[in-house]
């Protein structure tokens, strides 16, 4: 089967494709969130040690994982844009950054609200928490640096470099609970299996899938505005029905 993937690396065709796909991703995200949280709150049992407070897990863990994945994908797109000089990849990196930053913020916020009843502190300068905070600042740095340079292609190159260097922080966050003696608990879900109740696992994986779909929907919707802005002098943008009207 011959699908010409390069066709969609052109901003004009991708603009149309993103517009068709975004609502599907958004609605399936909403449905999966509802199913995941239903299982998380009504099927999953109370935790023996953390009582009902553990239910924060169904938003805390997915958003923490997403904050790291979105960063890596953003850095990947930025790197492709830097190396192959492809405009659309750089635009995708810019479209992902705000969503990634929001996931990092949700991770820190829900972590604080979990830390207070469990550890007795909203915040500690623990390796896991500190490296996640640095991740949030890296997102801010990427967005601010891109916004501070007028020429978009130069802004792409400068912020790509920042994104690539900053990606060193992601494995540090992930392994921080192993490398250092952290207050933050270690991973419950490991490649070798887990001690978690099956309903807790289901709820967590479903909300994680929902966060993935949400992030994709937001990036696709956001990149459409970026494409329009940066291609505003082209004929295809001028001829779009939504611009002509």
């Amino acid at each position: 089967m011959a699908i010409n993937w390069f066709k969609y690396s052109a901003p004009s065709t991708f603009y149309e494709l993103a517009g068709k796909l975004a609502p599907w991703f958004a609605w399936s995200a909403g449905i999966l969130f509802s199913i995941g949280l239903y299982i998380g709150f009504f099927v999953a049992p109370t935790d023996a040690q953390q009582s009902e407070a553990y239910r924060i897990i169904f938003i805390h863990v997915p958003s923490s994982i997403m904050s790291m994945f979105v960063y890596l994908i953003m850095a990947g797109y930025a790197a492709v844009g830097l190396i192959f000089n492809t405009r659309l990849s750089s635009m995708m990196a810019s479209a992902l950054a705000p969503t990634g930053a929001l996931f990092a913020f949700i991770s820190l916020w829900t972590g604080a609200l979990w830390g207070k009843p469990m550890w007795g502190a909203w915040w500690v300068w623990d390796a896991r928490l500190t490296s996640e905070l640095i991740l949030l600042f890296l997102y801010f740095g990427f967005i601010a640096l891109h916004a501070s340079i007028d020429d978009p292609r130069r802004a792409d190159r400068a912020s790509a470099l920042l994104a690539i260097i900053g990606s060193v922080n992601v494995p540090i966050i992930y392994f921080s609970v192993k490398w250092w003696n952290t207050l933050h608990q270690g991973s419950t879900v490991k490649f070798t299996g887990t001690s978690m109740h099956v309903a807790m696992q289901q709820a967590m994986f479903i909300t994680l899938a929902a966060c993935w779909l949400y992030a994709i929907a937001m990036a696709l919707a956001r990149v459409r505005s970026i494409i329009l802005e940066r291609e505003r002098n082209t004929l295809w943008v001028a001829e779009l029905p939504e611009v002509r009207s």
């Binding site: 009902e52 924060i56 805390h60 949700i106 916020w109 609200l113 937001m218 956001r222 505005s225 001028a238």
Partner: protein, 59 residues
């Protein structure tokens, strides 16, 4: 289990609902911002087009 008990979360209600409430708020605000950005971008494109048409008419 009644609803009062459910929302109390055995005394952890503030922490649990504080987490989900803020996360939900962030999602709603992000969706609104993305939509707003699209409206603004399209408006600017139309303004740009009208300005160019005006220039063509003047020369």
């Amino acid at each position: 289990m009644n609803w009062g008990e459910f929302f109390a979360m055995k005394g952890y209600g503030f922490y649990v609902w504080g987490s989900y409430g803020v996360a939900l708020l962030i999602f709603i605000v992000e969706i609104a911002l993305v939509r707003h950005k699209r409206t603004i971008t399209l408006q600017q494109l139309r303004l740009l087009r009208d300005a160019e048409k005006g220039e063509e008419g003047a020369t």
